[in-house]
């Protein structure tokens, strides 16, 4: 499968989306905090997060969910994400590398929709966030 797809006919069942390294930096969580919200120290400052009992600053869950959506749009720029469900299994620590992977688990060519499983994994290979999405592509 190509790195990007433009219509449902280019999608193959079981294929993997190009992996995506989200920006988990505290610079990014600070920007998110400034413009969007979630500007508590637990998200923007390692020392402040440790004072709350966390191992360090963590990425807001709503930002992790947004990473998943961005990954789908990078793979299928014309896609409309019509549903996405995200399970926060464990914190995503800021300033640590993470990788997002995705797999096409179903295709409905009549409806023009694909189902995708998506996972955010840390360097130890531990799943931190899991999502399922339904995206509609041009037929």
């Amino acid at each position: 499968m190509p790195d990007t797809v433009s219509n449902i006919g280019e999608v193959e069942f079981g294929s993997e989306l190009p992996s995506f390294a989200p920006d988990t930096s505290t610079d990014n969580t600070k920007r998110f905090g400034k413009y969007v919200g979630w500007d508590s120290p637990r998200f923007t400052d390692h020392e402040g997060a440790r004072k709350e009992g966390l191992p360090g600053a963590i990425v807001p869950g709503v930002l992790s969910q947004g990473f998943l959506g961005a990954m789908i749009h990078r793979w299928a720029p014309e896609a409309e994400i019509i549903a996405i469900d995200t399970v926060f299994r464990a914190p995503v620590l800021a300033d640590t590398p993470h990788t997002i992977t995705g797999t096409v688990t179903d295709i409905d060519e009549d409806e023009g929709t694909v189902e995708i499983d998506i996972t955010i994994t840390n360097e130890a290979g531990e799943n931190r966030v899991f999502g399922t999405a339904t995206a509609k592509l041009p037929t």
Binding site: Y35, G61, F67, A70, H73, I82, A83, T86
Partner: protein
């Protein structure tokens, strides 16, 4: 609920009392700069999401998860005895959310269910905010799933 299974009596009581009753209504002004900065932070690259001057500028579907109501639970919902943790977010997208719009969000408890693990019972509360634009068009649902890791008091 996703699966048909036996529901504990105390949970069934909560379901009967609280599901599908609206407990909050709030309006949101959709600011283009906030939308664009959200998209950039997420890693979106399409100007449709990152450039407020684009002809088709709109919020990424997950943006609605950032719209927070005045409360997450009905005011008379009982204290279940444990600390609530954010277990997940869900979005159902129905129509584009565009800058300059005023959305109305109406919240209700959409589901209450349990899972039992080694540490005991966990109660999951799903709060759904239904979002409507100024013409009344239903543009999205934003779900927040809260988990409470403690045995509920009867």
């Amino acid at each position: 609920m996703a699966e048909a299974e036996k529901v504990d009596d105390d949970i069934q009581d909560l379901r009967d009392r609280f599901l599908n009753s609206e407990f909050d209504e709030v309006t949101f002004e959709i600011d283009g700069e906030r939308v664009a900065q959200y998209a950039l932070a997420c890693g979106e690259t399409s100007p449709k999401f990152t450039d407020p001057g684009h002809d088709d500028f709109q919020a990424p579907p997950t943006f609605v998860s950032t719209l927070v109501g005045r409360r997450n639970m009905p005011s008379d919902f009982p204290d279940l005895g444990g600390m609530g943790m954010d277990a997940g977010k869900g979005v159902e997208w129905k129509a584009p959310v565009r800058a300059g719009e005023t959305l109305t969000g109406r919240s209700h408890l959409h589901d209450i269910y349990t899972k039992t693990g080694r540490s005991g019972r966990m109660v999951f509360l799903v709060t759904r905010m239904e979002l409507f634009d100024s013409s009344g068009t239903h543009v999205a649902n934003a779900d927040t799933r809260t988990v409470i890791r403690e045995k509920i008091r009867a």
